[in-house]
């Protein structure tokens, strides 16, 4: 009897969950990293977007919800959550689209399988934040006649040349490696100019040969070489190219003097085990340390350890509330951060393409545009940016700003994207 | 002594699916009585006792215990309220000490501090618990088991004794002994008999289940016979008659001989199996023995005399420390080679060592006969396999629904027939049978004895290792008595041989 009861309960649970959850639309599914379909409210009162840029008339049928798949290899970091929130809490409410998120992907096979699932669920386009095998993603999408775009990243030149003609490849908008290099350079330069001499570097994914982290670090080291005096060099390297090569060769960064400046400590990787955390704590407490330059998130790993010491932390990441708190608490001094709406233009390009208005270069190629970071060097600056970035009503790129892009020509589009500094963006959205 | 009723079972019914296990069973047990419950396997005797002891519930009927309605919902409840059962299967936990097993569920009483509400807290005072356990063991006459030993390190008999101690410690009014003695040697049995007699003297009651008719006749005051879930008859002590009891149990006269009827005792001179100067830690000491073609060799002794180990050494499943085992003059190194030499081994612990309970009759019989029916000694064709298995089922008349029935659902006797089928089917020439009739009812026993005799006449060689002297006397051409790992005495087959002659060499 007990067994029967238990069984019945079990079935009921399955039943209610399955039926109940099917219909209900939860408002915020930002945290869900299963493939979850977040349905958009139907927008019956909505009229055709009023886009009258130039002489072109853009007619878009808004009666049918367009499903767009999103591939993510990270679903929990502040950056990922901010991006997700912009799509599901803002864009999805403004346009008649529905974002279908993938699981947190771990490898190329996962990407492929997720794309299959997204195609099965009738996604018309896929925006990818996952980069295990971009060419495979593009080919698979093209094979399934689904549009594909890269958010917050770029293809290599070789890859771009191969796929720029492909009508299903919409393009990529994100920081180029040059941008990454510059970000690292600017960060280090700021502290050098303030007279600091003793640095520690957090290398993030350098041991995994992640290009953007290597270029950011190379930027930092180049700035040091330039400022370190006549004979300053990093292990003999003095140019950007040589330093990049050296980092690739070591899959890490060596401590030591660069002329009058010195790198007193280094930690790389994201092992996240006890030994690694101990290394981090040790690095933060290195004698005479003045600044920790992180190629990624620094405050989470070192913030607690520098409490009470006069050490500054500079990070590269995104505008998330936790960084504001870190700045207030003195655990973060400088942030080069992506703004969450930076993925707006890529959406606009996809949306436009799906609706029959592909945005291509004058030669008819896919987009390859670069877009950098917002730099906050004080809590006030951070709060100013963050207020705009986190707004669910009027984010950095509002609908009216993005509407400029839908159905636009290449020049309009690339001009728009290139004006990414805070003031420019705010101006555009007005 | 007052002969008042202690427990009464009225109109008890129990079904398992479509099988009627108990059909209107009525039993009355008086104080100061040891009542025997016997019947063939599947007759329902264990079902009755399992209901009385709270292991399961009846579908209908009622029980009255000490004048009140009795409906225990667990064995623990029953034990706490006066009815304890020592079961067939193992009831101890191997990973804890003897003392912990004895006081399982009662550790609290060894804690240091009273919590006020009748409960206690703090560490368990080990020394106190050990002392108490020792007392409990002493109480039932067991002195060779130390309370701090790990239970898993003890043998079957000692574990059984711990279980008995655990139950007796609760001082039950009714003790149920369910085929416990089959697992015990003479020493263990004596301990149980003593306890049973003491309970009788204390005006309590004992329900005793056993397959050993001699034992039951000796020990019990009354005897109730069950067959197919029904009470057939109850005999009082002065009405006990072995032949009558047997007939009542199986519902017909036993046809033909029980053991073999001849006293010929001859066999061929060819030695088929020989064990030379074998040494096995303390179990076998410089042991030498020969088995001949067409011989039934009986090996008797107390449980710990080394004879069970001898069986395993002969089949090469235990490596001796020294010495050799020769089959047809050839040294063998493992069980697979022994099987190639057409040897077969029926283990004492049937359910674990000789059978796979969670597999079908087909699986169990076919596994030893793969060489016999596999095409090119590799390919197993279902029809060939079925035919092979069915032949064994038919020739041994194994009672089953079909060959895919699980062995666990068979009675003890039929299980043992499956084991025999496994070895006979592959044409074994040499059989080592360790307690082959343990837990087997009379009808099957008789069939097995006759089978052994037939095999002997066909020139096969058999070793029977047994703790039951009567079957050794009844079956063996030659009887070897062992004690402490050595052969004490060898008897040729003879009409005059009796148990007393043998027992003096065993102890």
């Amino acid at each position: 009897m007990k067994k029967v009861l238990a069984l019945a309960l079990c079935l009921m649970m399955v039943g209610t969950l399955a039926s109940g959850c099917g219909k209900e639309t939860t408002e915020n599914k930002g945290n869900a990293d299963n493939i979850g379909i977040t349905e958009a409210p139907t927008q019956e009162g909505e009229v055709t977007p009023d886009v009258t840029e130039g002489a072109k008339k853009v007619e878009i049928d808004t009666s049918k919800t367009i499903k767009i798949g999103v591939l993510v290899s990270d679903a929990t970091t502040p950056e990922a959550l901010a991006f997700r929130s912009y799509y599901t809490d803002y864009i999805q409410k403004q346009y008649n689209v529905e974002f279908v998120y993938s699981d947190e992907l771990k490898d190329a096979a996962g990407e492929k399988s997720a794309i299959d699932t997204l195609v099965t669920n009738n996604c018309k386009a896929i925006i990818s934040f996952s980069s295990f095998d971009r060419p495979a993603q593009i080919e698979q999408c093209a094979g399934a006649k689904v549009y594909y775009a890269v958010a917050t990243g770029t293809l290599t030149q070789e890859q771009y040349d191969k796929y720029k003609d492909n009508e299903y490849y919409v393009g990529a908008i994100g920081p180029s490696l040059e941008d990454e290099y510059q970000t690292g350079y600017d960060m280090a330069k700021r502290y050098i100019d303030l007279g600091n001499t003793n640095y520690a570097i957090f290398g993030g994914a350098i041991p995994y040969f992640t290009d953007m982290h290597i270029y950011r670090a190379a930027g930092m080291l180049t700035a040091m070489v330039e400022a370190g005096g006549a004979d300053a060099n990093y292990l003999g390297a003095t140019t950007k190219e040589a330093i990049v090569q050296q980092i690739y060769a070591d899959s890490g960064i060596q401590t030591g003097n660069i002329g009058s400046l010195s790198i007193v400590a280094y930690v790389g990787g994201y092992d996240m085990n006890d030994a690694w955390f101990a290394q981090c704590a040790q690095m933060a407490q290195t004698k005479d340390l003045q600044v920790i330059l992180a190629v990624g998130n620094g405050s989470d790993f070192f913030g607690a350890a520098i409490k009470g010491a006069d050490v500054k932390i500079a990070s590269v990441d995104a505008y998330a509330s936790s960084y504001g708190d870190a700045m207030n608490a003195g655990m973060l001094d400088y942030l080069a951060g992506k703004f969450s709406a930076s993925i707006g233009p890529v959406f606009a390009a996809v949306y436009s393409t799906v609706n029959g208005y592909p945005i291509r270069t004058d030669e008819g190629y896919a987009l390859a545009l670069s877009q950098g970071y917002w730099i906050a060097a004080s809590s006030d600056e951070f709060q100013k940016y963050y207020a705009v970035d986190s707004s669910k009503e009027s984010p950095a790129y509002t609908k009216s700003a993005l509407d400029i892009l839908v159905g636009s020509d290449y020049k309009t589009f690339s001009d728009f994207v290139s004006k990414y500094s805070f003031d420019e963006v705010v101006q555009l959205s007005k | 002594m007052v002969k008042d009723t202690i427990i009464e079972v009225k109109h008890m019914e129990k079904r398992f699916g479509s099988t009627i296990a108990l059909n209107n069973v009525n039993i009355t047990i008086n104080r100061g009585q040891i009542i025997g419950l016997i019947g063939e396997n599947g007759s329902g005797k264990s079902t009755v006792t399992s209901i009385i002891s709270g292991m399961q519930r009846a579908d209908s009927g009622e029980m009255i215990f000490r004048g009140e309605k009795w409906q225990p919902d667990s064995m623990l409840y029953a034990l706490d309220h006066g009815i304890g059962m020592i079961v067939q299967e193992n009831g101890t936990v191997p990973g804890i000490t003897v003392a912990e097993n004895i006081f399982i569920g009662e550790y609290e009483k060894f804690k240091s501090f009273s919590a006020g509400n009748g409960r206690k807290w703090g560490f368990i005072r080990r020394r106190q618990m050990m002392a108490a356990a020792e007392k409990v063991l002493d109480n039932i006459g067991v002195t060779h088991i130390a309370p701090e030993m790990l239970t898993g390190a003890l043998d079957l008999q000692d574990r059984k004794l711990i279980e008995i101690a655990k139950i007796i410690n609760k001082n039950p009014d009714v003790l149920i002994v369910d085929e416990t003695t089959t697992a015990l040697s003479q020493i263990g049995r004596d301990i149980i008999y003593k306890i049973m007699n003491r309970m009788k003297e204390e005006n309590k009651a004992v329900i005793f289940i056993s397959h050993d008719l001699d034992e039951i006749i000796r020990v019990c005051d009354a005897l109730t016979i069950l067959r197919d879930g029904k009470i057939i008859i109850t005999f009082k002590k002065d009405e006990f008659d072995e032949q009558l009891i047997k007939t009542s149990m199986i519902g017909r006269e036993l046809q033909g001989d029980y053991y073999r009827s001849d006293y010929d005792g001859s066999y061929e001179s060819e030695v088929v199996l020989e064990i030379k100067n074998v040494q096995l830690n303390n179990r076998l000491k410089d042991f030498n023995l020969q088995l001949h073609k067409g011989e039934i060799l009986g090996i008797g002794g107390l449980s710990h005399c080394g004879m069970h180990e001898l069986g395993k050494v002969l089949f090469r499943s235990i490596m001796p420390d020294a010495g050799e085992v020769l089959v047809h003059g050839k040294n063998i190194k493992d069980e697979a080679e022994a099987m190639k030499q057409k040897m077969g081994y029926v283990a004492k612990d049937r359910d674990i060592e000789s059978l796979c309970l969670n597999a079908s009759i087909r699986d169990n019989i076919a596994i030893a006969g793969l060489d016999e029916f596999a095409v090119n000694n590799f390919l197993v064709l279902p029809n060939k396999e079925s035919k092979y298995v069915q032949e064994q089922i038919d020739s041994l008349s194994i009672k089953c629904t079909d060959k895919d029935q699980y062995v666990s659902a068979l009675s003890g006797g039929n299980k043992q027939k499956v084991v025999f089928g496994k070895w006979i089917g592959r044409g074994s020439e040499i059989l080592i049978l360790d307690c082959p009739t343990r837990g087997v009812d009379i009808g099957v026993k008789q069939a097995m004895y006759q089978l052994m005799y037939t095999m002997k006449k066909a020139g096969k060689s058999i070793i029977i290792i047994s703790e039951e002297m009567s079957e050794l006397i009844g079956m063996a051409d030659r009887l070897v008595v062992m004690k402490d790992g050595r052969i004490m005495k060898e008897f040729p087959r003879s009409k005059e041989l009796c148990e007393a002659d043998i027992i003096q060499y065993m102890i």
């Binding site: 969950l17 869900a32 299963n34 | 264990s46 796979c356 699986d363 197993v380």
Partner: protein, 319 residues
């Protein structure tokens, strides 16, 4: 008796019924929600085939009542070495041979290690898991670009079609069913899993059988690795990481008794792998987010396993 038999038969096919129900639900809900069901079916085969093959081989190990947690890592190592060999030789056949060869070697190493040290095999597989994970990192950093080993996608694109995958699956399935049900080896495996003590006393060598079981599972791992490369030729340290756990779930989901033995079935792996994928796809259709989706999955999983194994737990007549 008849009634019990019928019940037994029903329970026997419970996993198959579950699979059919899941398929029906997927098809119906998919049609109602207007998804691309045909594409979805292809996706489901693609998503199931590697786990199905590896799990099918692993049934041999599970039959012995044993356990191998290093299967996923073994798939990864085999695939990586296969990829490296392909890049060096440009021979698909050689790549296949290396995948299977390495996987079998790893499996042999596992079982031989267990028999040399006289340990339960699952213990050696725990050690093997660490070793293989380390090998994955070493291979990746020593070869390829440092973060991945990529076989040119053009090289395997021709093989990346359902026909080949289904064929490989079918052939391997047939081989396993043959060995398991129609040879002495299979009988001995089952018996050994049911009762090792009795098996030993029936002349069955547990060491030999465990080696055979691991070799069969190694072949499955090797084929799985090969299909992994074909499916996603860019291999990273995360390649096949989920396979290990998925294999365990698939085998149980398919109605295989966890303790192995006589009731073991080769097809359990195949059925379980597909059921699992259908279930995941249905969860997606029902728009369930992580927490609830996982809970529903877990509940269904428990329910199916409960039904499928209830005849094994059924009360037996007291003897």
């Amino acid at each position: 008796m008849k009634k019990i038999d019928v019940q037994k038969q029903i329970l026997k096919i419970a996993p198959v019924v579950a699979l059919l129900i899941l398929f029906a639900v997927f098809y119906m809900v998919g049609t109602i929600k207007d998804i691309n069901v045909a594409y979805g079916m292809k996706a489901i085969i693609n998503q199931s085939v590697v786990v199905a093959i590896v799990a099918t081989g692993a049934v041999f190990i599970y039959t012995l009542g044993s356990f191998d947690i290093s299967l996923g890592a073994s798939v990864a190592v085999s695939a990586l070495l296969g990829g490296i060999v392909y890049n060096a030789t440009k021979s698909i056949l050689l790549m296949l041979a290396v995948c299977v060869g390495i996987a079998v070697l790893v499996a042999l190493f596992n079982s031989v290690l267990a028999s040399v040290f006289n340990l339960p095999v699952f213990v050696t597989t725990i050690a093997m898991l660490s070793i293989l994970n380390a090998v994955v990192l070493m291979l990746i950093s020593a070869n390829g670009t440092g973060s991945q080993i990529a076989v040119p996608s053009e090289a395997v694109a021709g093989l990346d079609n359902l026909g080949i995958k289904v064929l490989v699956l079918f052939l391997f399935e047939a081989l396993c069913i043959f060995v398991f049900n129609f040879t002495k080896i299979g009988r001995k495996q089952k018996f050994l899993g049911s009762n090792p003590v009795c098996a030993k006393l029936t002349g069955i060598s547990d060491k030999k059988m465990s080696i055979v079981a691991f070799v069969m599972s190694g072949i499955g791992v090797g084929l799985g690795a090969f299909l992994c490369i074909i499916y996603a030729p860019t291999l990273t340290k995360n390649t096949a990481t989920s396979v290990g756990m998925d294999v365990i779930i698939a085998i149980v989901f398919g109605g295989m008794p966890v303790s192995g033995g006589a009731r073991s079935k080769i097809t359990a792996a195949l059925i379980g792998a597909f059921s699992m994928t259908f279930l995941s796809q249905i969860m997606i259709l029902f728009n369930l987010n992580l927490g609830i989706g996982q809970m529903v999955k877990a509940a269904i999983f428990l329910f199916v396993v409960f039904v499928a194994t209830s005849n094994q737990r059924a009360k037996m007549l007291p003897r």
